[in-house]
Structures are given as C-alpha cells and as structure tokens.
C-alpha cells in the first residue's frame, strides 16, 4: 500500500510537471501562430490541448468511464444557450470567466445518470432521478452536464435553475386572479419563461408545436388553439401579469405533446425539496407565511414531476441549502422531501453525488495549475489541500482561491 502511495505521489508530481510543459509548449505554439497571421481572440476560445486531465470529447453523449476525472469544454455558444439564465453556480460562472473556458469535469454521478437516460424506454411513464449529496459536492454541475446532453439530443429542457429562489427571495408577489387564496410570482414566472425560451427556441422552431386548446386570459386577450408554443411563451413574457398562468398552460401543453410523442422533454429542477418545505418568505395579505402549495408556480412543476406522462425524463436534486435554518440535519432525500414529497416522488431513482475521488482530485489540481490558479506549489501542497478540504469540491475551491 505504501509503495503504491509513493508511486502515486510521484505520478502526480510528474503529471503536474507534464502539464506545465504542455502549457509552455502551447504558449510557444501560440507565439508561432501569432507571428504568422492568426487573430489573437481566436486562440483564447480554441479548444485546448488534450492531456491527462482534459478530454477532447465534447459531446456528453459519448462520455464513458474512460473520461472519468477529465475536463471537457462546453462550446461558448452552447453554454450561452443553456446556462445564460442560470444553471451553473455563481462561483463557477466567475471561474469560467477568469479561465476563459467553460470546463466541466466528467464525474461518475453524471455518467450514471446519462447511462440511465440513454438506456431508458421513453414510451414508459417518466422516471424520476433524484440527485442527493452533502453541501458543495457538485449536484448542480452534474445536472449541468446532463442538461448539456439533453440540449444536444433534442430534449425540450424544462429547467429550474434554483427553485428555492421563488420561495426565499421572490421579486414580487401578488394575489392570483384566477385561483382564490393563491399567490402569483409574476416576475419570477416571466424570468423562467425567458429562460425556457432561450434554452429551447431553436428546437421549438424546428418542431412546430401547437397548442391544443384556446386559452382565454381576459376579455380581450386570448391564445387560440393551434397557436405555436412560442407565441404562448411570448405572451407570457409580454404580459407579465399572466406569466404564472402561461407557465401552467405551457407545462400542461408540453406534457400532452410529449405523451402524444411529438417531443422529448427533460425536466431538471435544482433544489426540488423547496416545493415541500413549509417555511417560505412569501407573506399573504394578512401577514401569514404562505406554504409552497399555495403558490401558483409550484402547481405545474409538481404536475410535471408526476409519472402520468411519457416521453421524458425528470432530474431533480434535493439540497440542504434549499431548506431553512433548523431543517438541515441530513442530506438524505427522505428527510429533505418530507413525507409528502417522498410520497409524491415515490418511486424514484436516487443518485448519490459524493466528494472527489483520488483521481478526480489530482486532475482538478492539475487543472488549476494549468490555469495558473494555484501559485504556491511547495512540495506536499496537494497533500495539505487534500487534508484541509476533505476532497470536497466546494471547500477545495474556497481554499485554493487565496493561494
């Protein structure tokens, strides 16, 4: 064992050395290129060299166990399409900006999910996958990886970047016009519709999906049956007052269309347990806390996570941070979802996201070194980082930032 460890240490050192050499080579290469006539802006976005912590396979559909622990680059356009309305954590967005490339590590939970999705029989009722794990282990990024797969494989994305935002910091709340005693979140609903549109506009245009019935919003406004879904979405965005209802209508339409086999849908909701957590920061007129089931926006998303439709997949994540103080004892789905939520989802496929493995950790360190993010490289710094971070991705990121 000791021998092995020793070798491993040597390997990692060699690998860092190699990566630095690679960088140097790249710089040299760039210089040559510059001296000819290449645009300097190009080489920043050009795909970086493939080495032991990078993989050239950019299609998440092709990822397999060979690529575990390696980074793949999301092309900027696709990143813009999928994640411009959220979906990556704030810190990770910052990192992407400084590193001038959107890289995500291929990790086993995402691969497991992809494997399930690829082999799923879509004609059967939808399968719910629940990502769970401790704080900062990479649930959101695993989901982002799968989302990328979905976007490339003609799935319509129904993606909620962070559901607790609606319960914890709503932009505006108003009483619902149609349902008595319910609360609307018009701005949040409109924001979500925009997010939906940016993610799916190309696909919607191609598929030419039509509404099945007429929606009457008010005396003068209505969406006729047979109108395209884009019109419906546009309406919701333009008339913010009706955004919540439009969302509900859109989602029920999508469900019907998917069941009819006209499209495939990938539902991805981060912080799903917020829909079942009774404590919110929305107050009704009589200063009472509103439970999530009295919010109009929750209804459609709970509806779409039911198993009464086909031709889709549901990827949900449960998170400790989606809860409020005093309810963060465990990260297991049963605790976080509560009885009600658990019964709503039952049966589901749990996918555990854990801390880095040894290989992933080394690869991450190498990536940081490659990006010049770690400047202190005394002997044994990897060991120290490992000890301090306990190989938790978020903790590692926090520790490394001041080095």
């Amino acid at each position: 064992m000791k021998m092995f460890r020793k070798q491993f240490g040597n390997l990692s050192r060699v690998s860092t050395h190699l990566s630095r050499n690679v960088l140097a080579a790249r710089v040299a290469y760039r210089d040559v290129e510059m001296s000819t006539n290449a645009a300097p802006a190009e080489d920043v976005t050009s795909p970086p060299a493939v080495n032991e912590f990078r993989t050239g396979v950019t299609n998440p559909g092709d990822h397999s166990d060979v690529q575990v622990g390696k980074f793949y680059t999301i092309p900027l356009e696709e990143k813009k399409q999928i994640f411009s309305g959220g979906g990556l954590t704030k810190k990770y967005e910052q990192q992407i900006k400084t590193f001038t490339e959107a890289c995500i590590m291929v990790r086993s939970p995402a691969l497991e999910l992809l494997h399930y999705i690829k082999n799923a029989d879509l004609s059967k009722p939808v399968v719910r996958y629940v990502l769970y794990g401790d704080n900062g282990v990479g649930k959101t990024l695993s989901m982002a990886h799968v989302l990328h797969y979905g976007a490339l494989n003609d799935f319509l994305l129904v993606h909620v970047p962070w559901a607790p935002n609606w319960m914890k910091r709503p932009k505006e709340s108003a009483n619902s016009a149609t349902q008595e005693g319910f609360i609307d979140l018009p701005f949040d609903a409109a924001a979500w519709l925009i997010h939906f549109k940016t993610q799916n506009s190309k696909l919607l245009e191609r598929l030419q999906l039509k509404t099945s019935k007429e929606y009457v919003w008010s005396k003068r406004e209505s969406t006729p049956a047979g109108a395209s879904l884009i019109e419906l979405v546009e309406h919701g965005i333009a008339r913010i007052k009706y955004a919540s209802e439009t969302t509900a209508a859109l989602i029920s339409e999508l469900k019907q269309l998917a069941t009819a086999g006209q499209c495939k849908i990938m539902v991805a909701i981060d912080g799903y347990n917020a829909f079942f957590h009774p404590v919110t920061r929305i107050f009704s007129d009589n200063k009472q806390r509103v439970t999530p089931d009295r919010i109009t926006l929750t209804q459609p998303f709970l509806d779409i996570t039911n198993y009464d439709w086909t031709n889709g997949v549901c990827i949900l994540s449960v998170d400790k941070i989606a809860m409020t103080e005093g309810y963060m004892d465990s990260y297991l789905p049963r605790y976080l979802l509560g009885k009600e939520g658990f019964e709503h989802l039952d049966p589901f496929v749990p996918v555990h996201v854990g801390n880095y493995t040894e290989k992933e950790f080394v690869s991450y360190i190498n990536y940081y070194l490659d990006r010049n993010w770690i400047t202190k490289t005394q002997p044994g710094f990897e060991e120290q980082l490992k000890f301090m971070s306990n190989m938790n991705p978020y903790t590692l990121m926090q520790l490394v930032r001041s080095l």
Partner: protein
C-alpha cells in the same frame, strides 16, 4: 514548633545568613555563590569586651540588643521545632532521629488535610531558619563607623558587585590588547560555554546580595554581565562568571518518549490522554502505518467548519512530515472549536514523538508544538469594563 506566622516583625538574625539563601535557592549552581562574602560577620561573642571598654555608638547598642533578642528567639524556635518533630515522629510511629523534612511534610499533609488551592497557604512545619528570612549583620563597628565604603548608597553589596564586574571586564580588555599585540589568539578550546546557563533571576540575586534591588538596577547587572561574557577571553574569569550563572535543564531530554504499542491489526499506536487547551479536553490515538485518515468524535475533518482549526490539526502532521502516513483518532469534549483543535493538535504532536527521530522531536519542540498551552481566559475585574480596559473616565 515554628508553624508559619505572618506579619510578625522579627528581629535580625546575625548568623550564617547565606545558608538561608542557599536553602531557598535549592539549585546546585547556587553552591558556588555561597562564597560571596557579602555579609560582614560581627560575632556577638567577640564584642562584649569591647563594648564595655570603648564608647559604643547608640546604633551599635541597639543592634546588639536586637541581635541578642533574635538569637534567643531563634534558639527557642529551634527547640520547639525539635520537640515538634519528635512528637510528630512518635505520632507517625517513626524514629525521631531519622525523621527527615520529607517525612515531616508527609505527616503534616496526612494529619492536617487541607483543601486550600494555593500550596503555600496549606499548613506546614519547617526549620526556623527557613521560615524567618535572613537579615544583614552589622555593617559598622562599635563606634558606628561603616565597614564598607559604599555603605551610604544603601546597597553596598550590589554596587560592589557592579564594581567587581567592571574590574573583571577591564582586566579582560587589557589582556585582549596585550595578546593582540603579541599576536596571540584566544584559546578556542577553553571558550566559555554559556549555552546551558542562565543569569540569576532578580529575586535570586537579591537573596545572594541580601539587598533589595529595583528593576533598572537588575538590568544594569545583566548588561554588565553580558558585556563581560561576550569578551573572547571570558574563560579567564570563569570562576567569577559562574557564580552568577544557573544551569538550565536540558529541555530536549525533559520528557520521556513512550514506546508505541501494537493493536490487533498489527499496527503501532500511541494514545495520549488528557490533552488540554483552554477548557477542552481530548484524548488522541495515532496509528503508524495509516492513510492519513482522521476521526474526531466519529466524524471526519468536517467536524471543524473553520479553516483555521483544520490548519491547526494539519500543523504537527505536515511539520513532522507524517501527513498521509498515520491515522488519527480523537475524542474531544468541552470548550469551543479553537480550543478543541488546539487540544487535538497537542495530542497529535505528543503522540507523533514515538514515530519520529530525535532531531525531529527537537524541531517540534522549538516550533512550540510540544509545549502545553496554559493560557486561559483572563477574568473580568470589577470597576473595569473587561479584563484590562477601564471605564471611560471623565473629569466632569
């Protein structure tokens, strides 16, 4: 029996005062200083004849009276002590002739059990020489004329000492110059070794001089001594210097390193109990062939959420280059996170001694890893805002 009596204004003892100083010092190095002839002996027996004939100064008369009285007093005290000792020996069923001071202490602790915290406040029985502090003998003759030229400075012994030091220093300077002129060099082999020694502390010096000195005077003593010792020929006045040096205990040999035990899996392990810091208490087990796993109260390092605490646990491991080579298990209770981390750090460092070489132990000691941190929170004082801070005071 001379049980401790406080606040008694006792008369002076004119007998061998230095012995007292010695006993209180207790250090073997102090034996050397016993030679210092700082107390002029005026034997009482010698004086009476002179007293009758010559004209005796008032001061001398008063002194003699006091000396006699004190002598009597000490005699009775000594007698009482002997009787008390005999009684005590009988009570304990021991032989009175061979009853030592240690036996006395034991007997007193047994017969008068005391819960008082301060050891000095507990009942004790010691020889009168120890209980009643030494005083100077007469410094003047029968006519009232002082023996010492610096009598009127109030601290003749101290200033005499300073003079002596300077005399030695000047002698060494002269020597150096002469040797330089002759082209000789100081003998490297005979160089004065001061590494394991320390100058007498202020109260020790006071006991030697039988005089009270103030801080600034003590400082001038240390400065003068340091100048003397820095001379290349300081070995020439070795005897003089050594009178004021006290050997230090070799710290590196202070603590015995325990032998590791073997557990069921055949791994070596050491458990350190009672690792204390602030109000935290921990016991730490370190196992040698390990993978760097750490367990604190059944949890991994996430037990500490603060980076600083984790860094503390990392410190002894990375410093001794044992990170990733040992497993650590710790149970800790009481105190806050930083206290707990400190307690575990000490435990890890102490346990690691069994697995590293002597040189590394010494390095760890110098890094302050093996010292128990005794500092505690300082109490708030009344009339003050906190431990030190005073309330804002306004004249009106």
């Amino acid at each position: 029996m001379s049980l401790r009596v406080f606040g008694l204004n006792l008369l002076k003892n004119n007998r061998s005062l230095l012995q007292n100083a010695l006993r209180n010092n207790g250090a073997p190095g102090a034996q050397v200083l016993a030679v210092a002839p700082y107390t002029t002996q005026v034997t009482v027996q010698a004086t009476p004849a002179a007293v009758q004939k010559q004209k005796v100064s008032k001061a001398m008369k008063a002194y003699l009276e006091r000396a006699n009285e004190h002598d009597e007093f000490m005699k009775t005290q000594d007698l009482e002590f002997q009787i008390g000792k005999r009684h005590l020996a009988n009570m304990m069923g021991a032989d009175a002739e061979t009853f030592t001071q240690e036996d006395i202490n034991e007997a007193i602790a047994y017969l008068f059990p005391s819960g008082l915290f301060d050891k000095r406040a507990r009942p004790a029985m010691r020889t009168p020489e120890e209980v009643f502090p030494a005083r100077k003998a007469a410094e003047f003759d029968e006519t009232g004329r002082p023996f010492h030229s610096m009598f009127y400075t109030g601290k003749p012994n101290f200033f005499q000492l300073l003079h002596d030091i300077v005399k030695e220093t000047n002698y060494l300077y002269d020597l150096e110059e002469r040797m330089l002129r002759r082209g000789n060099k100081p003998d490297e082999n005979q160089k004065l070794e001061t590494a394991g020694f320390q100058l007498l502390s202020k109260d020790q010096l006071e006991r030697v001089l039988v005089e009270h000195i103030v801080d600034i005077e003590y400082q001038s003593f240390t400065n003068a001594m340091e100048r003397l010792m820095s001379s290349p020929y300081s070995y020439k006045s070795k005897a003089f210097i050594e009178r004021f040096l006290k050997p230090l205990i070799d710290q590196s040999k202070q603590l015995e390193v325990p032998k590791p035990k073997i557990d069921e899996q055949g791994r070596q392990y050491i458990t350190t109990y009672e690792c204390l810091r602030k109000t935290a208490r921990a016991d730490v087990t370190v196992r040698l062939p390990g993978t760097g796993k750490i367990t604190i109260n059944g949890q991994d390092i996430t037990y500490f959420s603060m980076d600083e605490c984790r860094e503390q646990l990392l410190f002894p491991l990375s410093y001794s280059e044992m990170l990733g080579k040992v497993d650590v298990e710790a149970n800790v209770e009481g105190g806050g996170p930083s206290g707990q981390a400190g307690a575990i750090r000490w435990g890890i460092a102490m346990s690691l001694r069994s697995f590293v070489d002597q040189e590394m132990i010494e390095s760890m000691r110098l890094a302050g890893l093996l010292t128990r941190d005794y500092r505690r929170r300082e109490r708030k004082k009344f009339g003050q805002e906190g431990a030190r801070r005073k309330y804002t005071w306004k004249k009106r």
